[in-house]
């Protein structure tokens, strides 16, 4: 039998780790606020803190304050999209029990792209409010397809099979995109602009548009977090722990798809954020999804805001699109993750 004192000291150790997590959470929140302020100040025209505060107070006099007024929605959108992609990546990695799951790697972005391009070409869509349902639908169909494809065969969904299924599907879908866009010179520009993505040039409308989707997706994901913890032990064991495996998987996947689809609809495909953020977060606060998901949201928001600001600085006066920047940051990290994995577990 276990000695009571050991139980108490173990409990104390568990409480301490909760304190550490809370500390990290607060630090991340502070960092995000700082990054948001920086994002509003930085640009082709740099603004000082006083003007930022004045503009936030509602006044829009002078160039500086006008610039700030344009940057506020952009910053808010970066926060929303970053948070959505971070959570979506963490959920996808949990659902698939796969360290390489990410909307970009799994081809889900390309599916959303194809749906939006079809929307532009066939239904004359021109704005995000029209794209959003197409993007979510495309993302949903593609993720179900890729997951089904990747989990076929003897060993189920290994990281390797999922990544390959995603890459192959993305390649096939790209051909369809070409087939839609090439004969239509009139929509080539619109489709290209959307595909490259980014959060520049948006208004508060876009933010308001995706907020309900993000809130819904986020709540669904948080609701499933305990279930994801059980799933992490394998389907059989999760079922043995009394978890309804199929339902948990379906609900959390739906949450991830809504988050990723909505984010993609307004900001275009942004890769690697959903891959990198959960990995970094797991290093800091561990593998408990109840902590991991909110923390991924906060750090995802921070990374995307930072990338967007950075994109405005490095190529001044032009802007480097945030999707390109995240890929350039994320791909090397992806390779590091791959190299660290043991070959057998791939």
């Amino acid at each position: 039998m276990t000695v009571p004192t050991t139980v108490e000291s173990t409990a104390a150790r568990l409480r301490r780790s909760t304190h550490v997590r809370l500390l990290w959470m607060c630090a991340a929140l502070v960092l995000v606020v700082a990054l948001m302020i920086a994002s509003i100040m930085i640009g082709s025209r740099s603004v000082d803190l006083g003007d930022v505060l004045a503009a936030l107070g509602g006044s829009a006099t002078g160039f500086d304050q006008a610039a700030v007024a344009k940057r506020i929605p952009r910053t808010l959108l970066a926060v929303c999209v970053g948070a959505a992609l971070g959570v979506s990546g963490a959920v996808m990695q949990g659902v698939t029990r796969n360290p390489l799951a990410d909307p970009g790697i799994l081809g889900v972005n390309t599916g959303a792209s194809l749906a939006v391009v079809i929307g532009i070409a066939s239904f004359g869509l021109t704005s995000a409010s029209g794209y959003i349902w197409f993007a979510i639908g495309g993302a949903a169909i593609t993720s179900v397809f890729v997951y089904a494809v990747g989990s076929l065969g003897r060993q189920g969904a290994t990281p390797l099979k999922l990544a390959l299924a995603g890459a192959a599907t993305a390649a096939a879908l790209s051909s369809f995109i070409s087939a839609v866009v090439l004969p239509r010179g009139d929509i080539a520009d619109l489709a290209r602009d959307w595909q490259i993505g980014g959060v520049g040039g948006v208004t508060m409308d876009s933010v308001e548009l995706i907020l309900p989707f993000l809130a819904g997706g986020f709540l669904l994901s948080i609701y499933c977090a305990p279930g994801l913890n059980a799933l992490a032990l394998g389907d059989e064991l999760a079922a043995g722990l009394g978890q309804h495996v199929g339902l948990t998987r379906a609900l959390s996947a739906a949450g991830a798809v809504v988050l990723c689809g909505a984010a993609t609809a307004v900001a275009g495909p942004i890769g690697f954020l959903g891959l990198v953020i959960p990995h970094a977060c797991r290093l800091l606060i561990g593998v408990d999804h109840r902590w991991l998901l909110p923390f991924s949201a906060v750090t995802g928001a921070g990374l995307l805001t930072a990338s967007d600001s950075l994109g405005r600085i490095v190529a001044r006066p032009a802007e480097l699109d945030v999707g390109i920047l995240t890929a350039l940051i994320g791909a090397p990290l992806f390779i590091v993750i791959v190299r660290r994995q043991k070959v057998r577990s791939l």
Binding site: I105, Q195, I335
Partner: protein
């Protein structure tokens, strides 16, 4: 020296049965190669005859023989012939290169177009077109150099206690995503004219094929394909797993590096000439393996299937669909249902190629 039981113990029937099975495999392989060759020739001739103007076979034959035929000499000799020849060569290159990767990595999805081996060539070509404003020769040279460079980079990054095939695939996918981002960036900066050019090139197209584009691919094929086919035995041994292959006397790392360089060379030259014609490298190997049955080397049949695919898809893209599509769009769309089929089949048997 060999642990041979005395001869009399062996029922000669087993030896005969073994020999019989092997001969049957060889016969099937030979007939598949023959049928594929005939088909390639047939579609090749058809693509010389069909077009805006139809030329009967005897006029085509006279043009090919070098005679002057009014009208036909220009259309067939200068436009259709180089285009068809390039289609065959590019198809052979993609088919050979693709099946090599699939065999080596023991996975039909691991073809060079999917795991990013050819994305280096694409990124470089777009960079050449958009930023450097290069002409077609410059773009080709750049694409070939970058294609080889990126492939070697992927190999180097995947190398850790020996280059495991799985790591190679995943690193390739990562690099390819990064290069795709770079391509997108280039495209945002492209002027309207360059954009069309770059998009068409990225889709993979035989438009504007001429003898200048054909010659480098031909040279690459003549030099590299015998080298690759010479490795086909070692390649089929590596399918048994790295440890078994080493135990059978195949230097796995060396074979792999040699085969990668050769196959990437073929693919880079073909990509430089026609762009990354989607899915030809991916489709040819599994189709060929399906035709010949498991066992014999699928290299040569896969090359022929590749040639047949590109020729047919180009013909279809030009004349069968109303709008003129570049060949890569047609092969890409052909590839999608095949992907599904392949996956359902993998599901049944759980194996590789």
């Amino acid at each position: 020296m060999s642990p041979t039981p005395t001869r009399s113990l062996i029922p000669s029937t087993t030896a005969e049965a073994v020999a019989g099975l092997r001969r049957a495999r060889t016969r099937r392989w030979a007939s598949v190669v023959t049928v594929l060759s005939v088909l390639v020739i047939a579609v090749f001739v058809a693509s010389l005859m069909i077009g805006q103007t139809f030329y009967p076979i005897d006029e085509v034959a006279r043009v090919v023989a070098g005679q002057q035929v009014p009208g036909a000499s220009f259309t067939v000799g200068r436009l259709r012939l180089p285009r068809a020849v390039l289609a065959v060569l590019v198809g052979l290159c993609f088919g050979l290169g693709g099946v090599t990767f699939q065999t080596m990595l023991r996975n039909p999805l691991a073809s060079p177009d999917i795991i990013g081996i050819s994305s280096g060539a694409s990124a470089a070509a777009v960079f050449g077109i958009v930023t450097l404003g290069l002409g077609s020769t410059g773009v080709s040279v750049l694409a070939i150099v970058a294609g080889l460079g990126v492939a070697l980079l992927i190999y180097a990054l995947a190398f850790k206690n020996g280059a495991a095939g799985i790591r190679l695939i995943l690193v390739g996918i990562g690099i390819s995503s990064m290069l795709t981002a770079l391509i997108n960036w280039e495209l945002t900066r492209a002027a309207q004219w360059d954009l069309q050019e770059a998009l068409r090139w990225l889709a993979g197209s035989l438009n504007g094929a001429n003898w200048d584009a054909v010659i480098p691919v031909l040279i690459a094929l003549v030099i590299l394909s015998p080298l690759l086919i010479g490795q086909s035995k070692s390649l089929s041994i590596t399918q048994l797993g790295d440890d078994t292959a080493e135990a059978l006397g195949v230097g796995v790392s060396r074979t792999r590096l040699f085969v990668i360089v050769t196959a990437v060379g073929l693919i880079a030259f073909a990509t430089a000439a026609a762009g990354p014609v989607a899915f030809v490298a991916f489709l040819s190997g599994p189709i060929a393996a399906r035709l010949t049955g498991p066992g014999p080397s699928p290299l040569i049949p896969a090359g022929l299937v590749g040639a047949l695919l590109v020729l047919t898809a180009d013909l279809v893209g030009q004349f069968a669909l109303g709008t003129r599509y570049p060949v890569g769009v047609v092969t890409g769309i052909l590839g999608a249902p095949y992907l599904l089929y392949l996956i359902i089949r993998i599901n049944r048997s759980g194996g590789s190629l």
